[in-house]
Amino acid sequence: MNIQDTKNKKGSGKIRIFPDRFFPKRKKGIVEAQLTWVFILIIGVVILLFFVGIAQKQKQIADMKTSANILQQLDGILTGAEVSSGTSSLIKIPKIELKLDCNSFSIDGMTKSLKTRVVFSPDLIKGRQLIAYNLDWSVPYRVTNFLYLTSPEVRYILVGNLAEEVYETLPEVMNKEIKNINELKNIQGKAKLIFFNTLPAAEQLPTTKEDISIVKIEGDLNEGKIIFFDSNLNKEGESKYIKKELLLGGIFAENIEYYACAKEKAEKKFDVVTAIYQNRIDQLINEYGDCNGLLQRLPPTLSLSNIHAVETQNYQLQIEGCPTIY
């Protein structure tokens, strides 16, 4: 504390202490200065928060915009893949997590409908590449194209008597291999095990079971049933298939629910197409005649024997020079 000399004395003669240099002892002004600083601080924080809020909102909007763009592009790719048949393509995509179910696909919570497309795929595709493969399902007339989606990160292991034939059918770009039933123990990482008319014992399965899914096919390439199991070989469900394209659907589909839903969409399409073909046949019979009884109503149910019957009928119509069924 400085004891001031007369120089620092204000008229009253009172002693002023050191801090008075910075905070002049005026009764009205001292409060104002402090309040001004507080006011400035508050306003500064408010403005800062305002801009930070805007920046965060903009980031959210930008992310949503990016996801929407990617969804739009993917939709276009799926449309293109859907209308061309028997093609496989390796599509480069941004590093995203693409979630799929029977009726829609989504990225970061933004969803787009698959509409009437029949798509078989895992429920989650990660990574920078997407494999799209499509085949037309003809029973015997073309009903629809099936779209199979997967990524090179998913490993498909085929075991059994049909393994080689199915291996040749699957696209080259897929991560696929054929193994014997005794070679499964050492499999590491995520894999889908597909067994044709055989099933291993539990002890023959890979030791790390968390990322393993199992499917058993009973039948041949044209007809049979697909059985879905969990990684401990507990049966989850089964479904019949007709033609190789539905069989492949069982290989690509994540689980029995997905497979059953996609198969239902395919059967619905079958009903629609059959109704149109039926109406067409009726009109042809009215205009042209039934071509010596060869032009007949189509069988309404889907079965391999009915498919063969219609194939034979169509072939005979072709030979006779009559309008064909398909």
Binding site: T36, G80, V83, S113, K115, N279, Q283, E287, T324
Partner: protein, 159 residues
């Protein structure tokens, strides 16, 4: 006291002006974004009408075929007629596929320079705007075994 009051009001006035300018900037930015979004939407709808046209020309219930071989961008005349008759029974199915659209096939009659119009699907709802896509096709008559020219017109409706 008066000086302090004047200072305070000056500060407040500065802040008010600052926020007004910020608000104008924000309004301008949102307007620009809105116009950009509208343009993007219009482009997306135009692409959608082309996509619908592509899907229509690949529908097995319309494409002409000989045995198991499907011929190019060709529609079977009797399938078109059957589709006209039957599609109402599966309205929800086709609504899922096409949404709000007006799809027709126009067959060009070269003899008398007229067009025969077959309406395949019509569902406009209360939409006002539309984009149009055209795809030329050939139309096959399986009884007379003749081909004729035509095109698919797709009008995709949106808000």
């Amino acid at each position: 006291m008066r000086k302090a009051q004047v200072k305070l009001w000056t500060t407040i006035a500065i802040l008010v002006v600052f926020f007004v300018i910020l608000m104008f900037g924000f309004i301008f930015y949102t307007q620009v974004e809105r116009i950009s979004l509208e343009r993007s939407q219009k482009e997306a709808e135009a692409r959608r009408s082309i996509a619908i046209a592509q899907v229509v020309t690949n529908l097995p219930e319309l494409q002409c075929s000989l045995g198991a071989v499907e011929k190019g961008i060709c529609f079977d005349l009797y399938k078109i007629l059957a589709f006209e008759d039957v599609h109402e029974n599966y309205w929800i199915y086709y609504y899922d596929m096409f949404g709000y659209a007006n799809i027709s096939v126009k067959q060009i009659n070269l003899n008398d320079d007229t067009e025969t119009v077959y309406s395949l699907y019509e569902n406009i709802g209360d939409k006002q705007s539309f984009t149009t896509g055209f795809i030329p096709i050939s139309i096959y008559d399986p009884i007379n075994k003749t081909f004729s020219f035509g095109y698919v017109e797709v009008k995709n409706y949106y808000d």
